[in-house]
């Protein structure tokens, strides 16, 4: 890559960040509003947790709400 390559292209070329360097807030967006959700035979899944008094409660609730909202209009069908 040349030195004047724009930032995005550099990041794209560098590949993945080590897991430790990924910002928790970006990770939680994905881990709490994305991914496969299953139930049945479960001891526990995140959907069952009634989170109270949680320091990150606002974040988690908002992420979860957005997950629900995305089912309506925000989610584009995947093309082939």
């Amino acid at each position: 890559m040349t030195h004047d390559e724009p930032r995005g292209a550099v990041l794209a070329a560098e590949g993945r960040l080590p897991a430790e360097r990924v910002a928790l807030v970006d990770l939680l967006d994905r881990l709490l509003a994305g991914g496969v959700v299953v139930s049945g035979d479960l001891v526990l899944s995140i959907a069952d947790i009634d989170l109270v008094r949680i320091s990150v409660r606002a974040l988690i609730m908002s992420v979860r709400e957005s997950g629900t909202a995305a089912e309506g209009g925000g989610y584009d069908q995947i093309g082939r």
Partner: protein, 274 residues
């Protein structure tokens, strides 16, 4: 190890099976020495051409009650989320992967096998949709200076000077003008975010908008107007990044994260695949 459980029977166990991700069972290799949440070794469960990545977790930490408490502990949550992510990344490096939502704990291996059986077709379809594609995250911020109260436009200042009869009226007028400016700035930023999203979407095969992050957690005061996720063909990654770079500037700051495993595009809710 797997508890023998019959359906409908309540089980008192001291260990559960934590599920991280599901992939096609074509080249089953569990990365050597891979450790997941609570420092436990990750192993695979193969079934019906699929493979699940799991580890055993102690239920005194991952049972419902303990989790209620530990989910309130940001350090614990961070550690667990990163450990989950590390496993997903290790799998994603080798094969298309469907990450599972954080903290999904089964009572035993048999239940995971049943999941792979019952949702086989959904997983296969999902994995073929994300194969050869990566998720990119794009966050757009309006810089703080842009949303701070700004002085009214010159003609409004002039008008208020001529018409004002008291300092109070003057103040209200200035405040209204400042609110209008602020509203207008936000409206424009919102419209700009829509355009950015549309451009990025055109390079992606799928997109999804997450809710804007809480400033306390993102660590930024700036107003987040877009928190998007885009599923992009691997060979178009640089094109996507270039499109993003062209959208930079004019008071909007864009932040690119990724590539991510396709977390935002493997949502499989109970009761049906999308």
């Amino acid at each position: 190890m797997s508890a023998t459980v019959t359906e409908g029977m309540s089980v008192v166990a001291d260990a559960g099976t934590y599920l991280y991700a599901v992939a096609r069972d074509v080249d089953v290799l569990c990365p050597e020495g891979l450790r997941g949440v609570a420092g436990q070794a990750v192993r695979t469960i193969a079934r019906s051409g699929l493979v699940a990545y799991v580890s055993t977790v102690p239920l005194d930490q991952f049972g419902e009650e303990p989790l209620r408490r530990s989910m309130e502990d940001l350090d614990w949550l961070g550690e667990t989320a990163h450990a989950h992510h590390r496993v997903v990344e290790a799998v994603a490096a080798a094969a298309p992967v469907a990450p599972v939502r954080l903290v999904t704990v089964y009572s035993g291996e048999e239940q995971v096998r049943r999941l792979l059986d019952e949702r086989h077709d959904d997983f296969v379809e999902m994995l073929s949709r994300v194969a050869g594609r990566q998720e990119w995250g794009v966050k757009a911020y309006v810089e703080k200076a842009q949303t701070a109260a700004q002085p009214a436009a010159p003609q409004e200042r002039e008008a208020s000077r001529q018409e004002s009869s008291s300092p109070g009226t003057d103040y209200l007028r200035r405040r209204q003008a400042s609110l209008r400016t602020r509203e207008e700035t936000w409206r424009q930023a919102g419209a700009r975010a829509e355009r950015i999203h549309d451009v990025l979407r055109s390079v992606a095969v799928a997109s999804r908008r997450h809710r804007a992050q809480d400033p306390e957690l993102s660590g930024r005061d700036d107003w987040m107007v877009l928190n998007g996720a885009y599923l992009v063909d691997e060979e178009r990654a640089e094109e996507f990044a270039r499109a993003l770079d062209e959208l930079r500037g004019q008071g909007i700051e864009l932040e690119l994260t990724g590539p991510w495993a396709p977390y935002s595009f493997t949502v499989l809710e109970e009761g049906g695949a999308r």
